[in-house]
Subunit: 335 residues, 2 copies
């Protein structure tokens, strides 16, 4: 038997349901069966719960993109992993579960010094930060980098990644008290208000935009010639515990439309990033998983876990994240 | 006395006027006076002559962005260059002239083995290719690169640059007979028709788009996830010896508008490049000139000069370029 958290009806966090699953999970030949200890919670899970995520499976379904735990069994053609190994895995849906069976190329064994808790906090944040900074933006030594939402899961890893690439990093937050958190990673910190008031905070080679809407056009002006902005979500449209149709509309309408002709005279670039769409491509999942395994030690990745909620309190985990009260990552713990 | 070619009235190539200038040119303290041997002809000069280039100076003016020649005199604060040195210079307008006086940081001494003719063919092509491939696209080893207009001045240098960066390069041409030229630089060659007929020519990490309009959306589909397209001009709107207002309109209307929301789900990036706008920034001119000096030998840059026209025949130089009959670069020779 195992337990899983399902989205059966769209709505507020109370709609999440914890269910027992009596069916025995068996790994297919290429799969690894994991006894999950921690599941990562992501903003996309909240959008999904609200019915705002077009790529979600039909209800009822189990959300979740990332877990850590102990190998319980391996499929007949899996080598290099044995029961008892401590592992991290990316899961394309299904991660909110006390047991998962996933293809071998989405799993790897953790170094003995790496905590299971931090491991569950890594895949989505690392994949997103890597796609934005390394694959799209190709940040290099000496670049000036601006990270919006610098105190979130992606933002924290993005700062560490940009620093390790030799960039000069500025982190943004809406909350003055979180500036110290950003500074603790060696970045300069500003509030959004401080940035807006000071046009001299500019000449960035790379901007990671997280809130969409009108912030994109504003941040585009802070780019240096030949610079790029990666736009990765619609955080601005979610808040207050439920879908806010007016806010969604405002964000969508505020999201700029760039005629290439005007972009041409600006000598700048715009990328759109939907990391979860990239994870539909098995080749990319394998590539990103291998990169994470290599970078875990090489970059000294150190995700910040804000809080672990027992699976029974998943509602509170969602609320902490959607109220933007979390610093770093929020996890579900299975025990 | 020196001679210069001026745009006095907008119109076809016959409108270019060769004039004698009796005023003696004197270098300012920071300037270098050059006895010009060759001036590069660029597509922007043609757009300017037709009155289609918003950044052009008021008429009458001397167009031209690049020259090579012999140092005749240096300003009082110039060091490192002496009369008699063979040099290359970028000129922000004014290059269609038998003598120019330009700031020292836009000039450098050529290696003795490098021909003056090839030197005048380099600045605009190299600056444009560098901005597109290295500064914006940041092409790296193993990338798949698609170069449109691969037989032109920028295209030829772009292929050499991409190859030297370790990329796998595909060049496009509208003319089947020019495929051998592209292949001679170690790239695969296709005609535009062949590309359109075969959707498997895809998964590019970088596309250099030169013709604008509807070609942008078509080429965007050939990008791999996280790939980028750099759009650098409106060649499609000029042709047949004069401005074609219907063609301009068609190109402008065909140029796509990208809502960031749709770009987000595509996981791709779009850059606009107007290299001449970048050259308004003195810091960038200095940076690009230094890079050209370093890359000249390091990358073994070898621009292809299609033909040199005596200054009296500048009209024919423009016609060759605007009729897309040139392979590589077209120059004006002063003697």
């Amino acid at each position: 038997m195992h337990r899983e958290i399902r989205i059966e009806k769209y709505g507020d966090a109370a709609k999440l349901v914890l269910r027992d699953q009596r069916a025995e999970l068996q790994p297919k030949p290429e799969e690894v069966l994991i006894d999950v200890k921690y599941s990562g919670v992501n903003f996309a899970d909240i959008q999904m719960r609200m019915g705002l995520y077009p790529d979600a499976p039909p209800r009822p379904f189990v959300p979740g993109y990332e877990v850590s735990g102990i190998v319980e069994a391996v499929g007949s053609s899996v080598s290099g992993l044995v029961p008892g190994d401590r592992v991290l895995a990316g899961t394309y849906f299904g991660g909110y579960s006390s047991k998962v069976s996933v293809p071998k190329n989405q799993v790897f064994k953790l170094p003995s010094s790496f905590e299971l808790e931090k491991a569950a906090a890594l895949p989505v944040s690392y994949f997103t930060a890597r796609l934005a900074l390394i694959e799209m933006g190709r940040v290099r030594e000496g670049d000036r980098v601006l990270i919006e939402c610098a105190t979130g899961g992606v933002g924290t890893i993005a700062i560490q990644m940009a620093k390790s690439l030799g960039a000069e990093v500025v982190g943004l937050t809406t909350t003055p008290s979180k500036k110290a958190y950003i500074e603790s990673y060696g970045a300069q910190a500003f509030t959004v208000e401080e940035l807006e008031a000071d046009p001299s905070i500019a000449r960035f080679d790379f901007v990671l935009n997280a809130s969409g809407g009108r912030s994109i056009s504003k941040q585009l002006k802070r780019l240096d010639l030949t610079g790029r902005i990666v736009c990765m979500g619609l955080n601005a449209s979610v808040g207050g515990g439920r879908a806010n149709p007016l806010r969604v509309l405002k964000t969508v309408l505020g999201t700029p439309i760039f005629p290439v002709l005007s972009l041409m005279n600006k000598n700048r670039g715009v990328y759109g990033l939907n990391a979860l769409r990239v994870l539909e491509d098995a080749e990319w999942v394998e590539r990103l998983t291998k990169a994470l395994e290599a970078d875990l030690v090489r970059l000294g990745l150190d995700p910040h876990v804000d809080r672990v909620f027992p699976c029974e309190e998943v509602k509170d985990a969602h609320l902490l994240l959607e109220n933007k009260a979390a610093k770093g990552k929020v996890l579900i713990g299975w025990s």
